[in-house]
């Protein structure tokens, strides 16, 4: 008898019991690597703006490279946050409707917040 109880086709597809393969795991790592650089860059930029007035802060964010990196930072941060919060919820929320409900709620909040952040940067960068 085979030691592996899984269907040979399921094993060949390599998607595991969640039917999702290593997508979640891999995306969490890739966004983490991006965030190592993006967050440190963001912190340095914010520290540079400590005593800046409104116009200086706006002009800094409006610089093309800063705007691009800020948008990348906001999108990546919320993507990474949802992946992490998802695992925490799956591990600790044992009431099914609460689990599914909170998984949907964090996704809605993250998408809205990311869109708000991106729109804010675009408004500053495009000067409206």
């Amino acid at each position: 008898m085979s030691k592996d109880l899984r269907n040979p086709l399921a094993r060949a597809r390599g998607l595991g019991s969640a039917k999702d393969g290593v997508h979640h795991w891999m995306l969490q790592r890739v966004t983490a690597i991006a965030l190592v650089f993006l967050t440190v860059w963001f912190l340095v930029m914010v520290l540079g703006l400590l005593h800046a007035d409104y116009a200086t802060a706006r002009a800094t964010v409006a610089k093309p490279w800063n705007a691009v990196l800020l948008i990348a930072f906001v999108v990546t941060a919320f993507r990474h946050a949802v992946l992490g919060l998802q695992v925490v919820i799956e591990d600790y929320v044992h009431t099914r409707w609460l689990e599914v409900g909170s998984l949907i709620v964090i996704k809605f909040i993250a998408v809205l917040a990311a869109l708000m952040g991106v729109l804010a940067v675009l408004r500053i960068a495009l000067g409206s």
Partner: protein, 130 residues
């Protein structure tokens, strides 16, 4: 999960406290803190886009003593999640799983987080002109 009434693993109440337990749960805790903190970053960006008045309101909140306490907490959470996250990325390559090095890297994450937080806030509180 089936409610059997039997004790669940891990049996935290009988474990001797070890630094790896703290670094593991702290990574999740700081991750949750940073997720909430990201909303504050969006608030700051939205305020900057909205105009001078909204931005003044944001900076007033950020420089209020309570706001500063939140920011110090955010900085510590950020540096901890960063250093321990890098530790996890290294471990993903299969390195550092021997118990002594696992314990050592755990402490390294905690100490690095504290040191980096102190450096950043020394810079902020001395006027940011270092």
């Amino acid at each position: 999960m089936a409610q059997t009434g039997r004790p669940l693993s891990p049996h935290l109440q009988v474990y001797k406290w070890q630094v790896q337990m703290a670094t593991s749960i702290l990574h999740r805790a700081t991750g949750i803190i940073l997720a909430v903190g990201s909303l504050l970053i969006v608030w700051g960006l939205a305020a900057l886009a909205a105009g001078e008045e909204a931005y003044a309101c944001f900076t007033a909140c950020a420089s209020h003593p309570l706001g500063m306490i939140v920011l110090v907490g955010w900085t510590l959470a950020f540096f901890y999640h960063l250093s321990n996250g890098i530790r996890h990325l290294v471990q993903d390559t299969g390195k550092g799983y021997a118990i002594p090095s696992f314990v050592r890297s755990s402490w390294l994450s905690v100490i690095a987080a504290i040191v980096l937080t102190v450096i950043v806030w020394a810079f902020v509180l001395t006027g940011g002109h270092a």
